[in-house]
């Protein structure tokens, strides 16, 4: 091994790769622009549609209620309700989404409130329709309040305290720190995203540096130089790894930046529940994820180089490498399922172990023995893959495949 040669090969490959539009696109442009665009577009769409639906007064038609003028007047006066005159069958109006729901006030309803004989108020809604569901909640709240007020006035009429029907209160309080909530919420998603990016970031340079060189005829030129094959492989390997890690770094920075920006721009003004959509993640967790991704990036770089070296052309390499994506995605998807927990067995399964440990680290759990086992086993797999790659580089039937 000659570090001078490795660095020479590495510097040249980096320069060459950075001048390649495809590599640049997959390494810098896509991760930097795609994530912010996605985050902004999705959060903007979600926010505007939800807010619009929330801000709009609930439209409803009344059925009956002629003998309950007080109740009808109350409904009409409610700020968030908009009573619309029925111009056709109420079912049709709800189905056509002209109103969110229909409210049927039974005959003698107002009188029954005073007398005490219970009547049933019917709400006709459109199951599965978001606006109709929100309307039902709104009217339901209004009616519950009316019921509570009626009960209170009846109790007072009998000289009893309203507390009589509320023997105790129930309250909930969250004890999990915000970063743990965030870690659990998106802890499965972040490693998954990172694994995909780690792989795609390595894919194009790996193909370009092997099959691409064979196709362009520069591989033979390079092999004529007095550099030992190990140094060529390591130089190329480091380039692919740099591309892979850079892709993740660009994504993490741009994602974090756009999440913060999107949070303050979109949620800040609207206030309310918006902040809950923005999970808080411990910075140590992010650093931990980044450290754990290094051996995985090594593994991907070595495996991708080995596979694409076998191909004669760029196109052939793509055919070999594309199905690998599924092999990579499957364990990372498994890691998102609730049944899979970190154990001595799962800690040695590549990719799955990363997903599981990232989930833990992002929610603030640091199981050092497992972390060491995962780092060690993945580094070992990567080393085996590099040895395999060097072996492939020494096989003339691979390098000069006709």
């Amino acid at each position: 091994m000659n570090w001078g040669h490795i660095v020479t090969v590495y510097c040249k490959e980096m320069k060459d790769s950075l001048r390649d539009r495809r590599t640049l696109l997959s390494m810098v442009v896509v991760p930097t622009l795609l994530m912010p665009l996605l985050i902004f577009a999705v959060s903007f769409l979600v926010k505007t549609t939800v807010q619009k639906a929330q801000a709009e007064a609930t439209s409803l038609v009344l059925i009956g209620g002629e003998d309950s003028p007080g109740v009808v007047a109350g409904l009409k006066a409610a700020k968030n309700l908009r009573v619309i005159a029925a111009d056709r069958d109420y079912r049709q109006m709800v189905s056509e989404k002209r109103v969110r729901l229909a409210l049927e006030i039974p005959e003698g309803f107002e009188a029954s409130l005073k007398e005490g004989s219970p009547k049933t108020v019917m709400l006709y809604h459109y199951e599965g329709e978001m606006k109709s569901g929100m309307g039902v909640d709104e009217v339901d709240r209004y009616l519950r309040l009316l019921r509570e007020k009626t009960v209170e006035s009846r109790l007072r009429d009998h000289g009893l305290s309203p507390d009589l029907i509320k023997p105790f209160e129930i309250q909930r309080q969250n004890v999990a720190p915000p970063e743990k909530v965030g870690g659990n919420l998106i802890g499965g998603l972040i490693p998954y995203l990172i694994i995909v990016l780690c792989f795609t970031g390595a894919m194009y340079p790996a193909i370009d540096l092997t099959a691409g060189e064979k196709e362009r005829g520069t591989m033979e030129t390079l092999l004529c130089s007095p550099v030992h094959r190990v140094n060529i492989v390591l130089g190329k390997f480091l380039t692919v790894m740099t591309a892979s890690v850079a892709t993740i770094a660009f994504t993490l920075v741009s994602t974090a930046g756009s999440l913060i920006l999107a949070g303050s721009l979109l949620m800040g003004a609207g206030g309310g529940s918006g902040a809950a959509l923005l999970p808080v993640i411990a910075p140590a967790g992010i650093l931990g994820v980044f450290a754990m991704i290094i051996p995985v990036a090594m593994l991907f770089a070595a495996v991708l180089l080995t596979i694409s070296l076998f191909a004669k052309s760029y196109k052939e390499a793509q055919t070999y490498v594309s199905p690998m994506m599924i092999v990579v995605l499957l364990p990372s998807l498994l890691g998102m399922l609730p049944g899979f927990e970190l154990s001595a067995k799962t800690a040695v399964i590549p990719i799955l172990n990363l997903t599981l440990v990232c989930k833990e680290m992002l929610s603030g759990v640091w199981n050092w023995s497992y972390i060491a086992l995962i780092f060690g086993s993945t580094a070992l797999y990567a080393a085996v893959a590099i040895v395999l790659c060097v072996k492939m580089f020494n096989r003339e039937d691979v390098l000069f495949r006709e």
Partner: protein, 256 residues
């Protein structure tokens, strides 16, 4: 100097064993050009790739520039300049970066590389396109850059594998001139081609290779006497076994 003793290369193709080169023995002295003449598929490229350490011989042995390619491949490559139609340039590097890269891979210092590039660019007329990317260069410019790449470390042995393949007349002529210049500087030169006129013009010794075997060897005058022909093409046809062999070669997909 290049010496080969019963150099053999076989490889497995599906279930059969194919012999690409069989018992090839020859010597190429410093200050001389050895012309390896053969049809496509005769074994020229395999032979030269074995000399350049790109392929390992399966039998026999050779010494290139004083080293055995099997035992000390890096030392052999450090003493060899290998130029073939299949050795391309990095399209995204400039001509200067390309040559510098190979200087560095040959362990040269930055100052030595710059001085050498200056000399080579002057000799080859490369100054105007030194800082242009190789991918944008004309065929002739690319060829000059490739020559500079093979010469950056001033090797004692030059191996040319059909270097004029696909080049226009002017570029091919420049290559031929360059090969002669290499010989005149005392380098050991081996040159493979299937073009009769090139081998006639250049070679001090001609080796005719057919179906992996060296079927005839000698100076042009030697071969003319031996085959009682003055025309190189006729000598070649007789050497490989007459018109019957040509017809067989055509059937097998080789073209003389």
């Amino acid at each position: 100097m290049i010496e080969a003793w019963e150099l053999t290369k076989t490889y497995r193709d599906k279930k059969s064993i194919v012999t690409a080169v069989s018992d090839l023995s020859f010597t190429c002295q410093p200050g001389q050009i050895y012309g390896l003449l053969g049809a496509n598929g005769a074994g020229k490229t395999t032979t030269l790739r074995m000399l350049a350490t790109l392929l390992k011989p399966t039998g026999g042995s050779c010494r290139v520039g004083g080293y055995d390619p099997v035992i000390a491949p890096e030392k052999v490559r450090a003493n060899v300049g290998f130029l073939a139609a299949s050795t391309a340039l990095y399209g995204r590097l400039t001509a200067r970066e390309m040559v510098t890269y190979f200087g560095r891979l040959n362990g040269m210092t930055h100052a030595a590389i710059q001085a050498r590039i200056d000399v080579l660019a002057g000799e080859l007329g490369m100054h105007e396109f030194l800082d242009r990317r190789c991918g944008k260069l004309s065929t002739g410019m690319k060829q000059k850059t490739s020559i500079a790449r093979t010469l950056i470390h001033d090797p004692a042995v030059m191996i040319f594998d059909e270097p004029t393949l696909g080049l226009d007349v002017m570029s091919a002529r420049a290559i031929v001139t360059f090969v002669r210049a290499c010989r005149d500087r005392g380098k050991t030169v081996i040159y493979s081609t299937h073009i009769m006129s090139e081998v006639e013009k250049l070679s001090d010794t001609i080796g005719i290779i057919h179906a992996g075997r060296l079927v005839a060897e000698g100076t042009r005058a030697d071969l003319q006497v031996r085959f009682a022909e003055s025309d190189m093409e006729e000598i070649f046809v007789k050497a490989i076994g007459g018109e019957v062999a040509v017809a067989d070669a055509l059937k097998e997909g080789m073209s003389p």
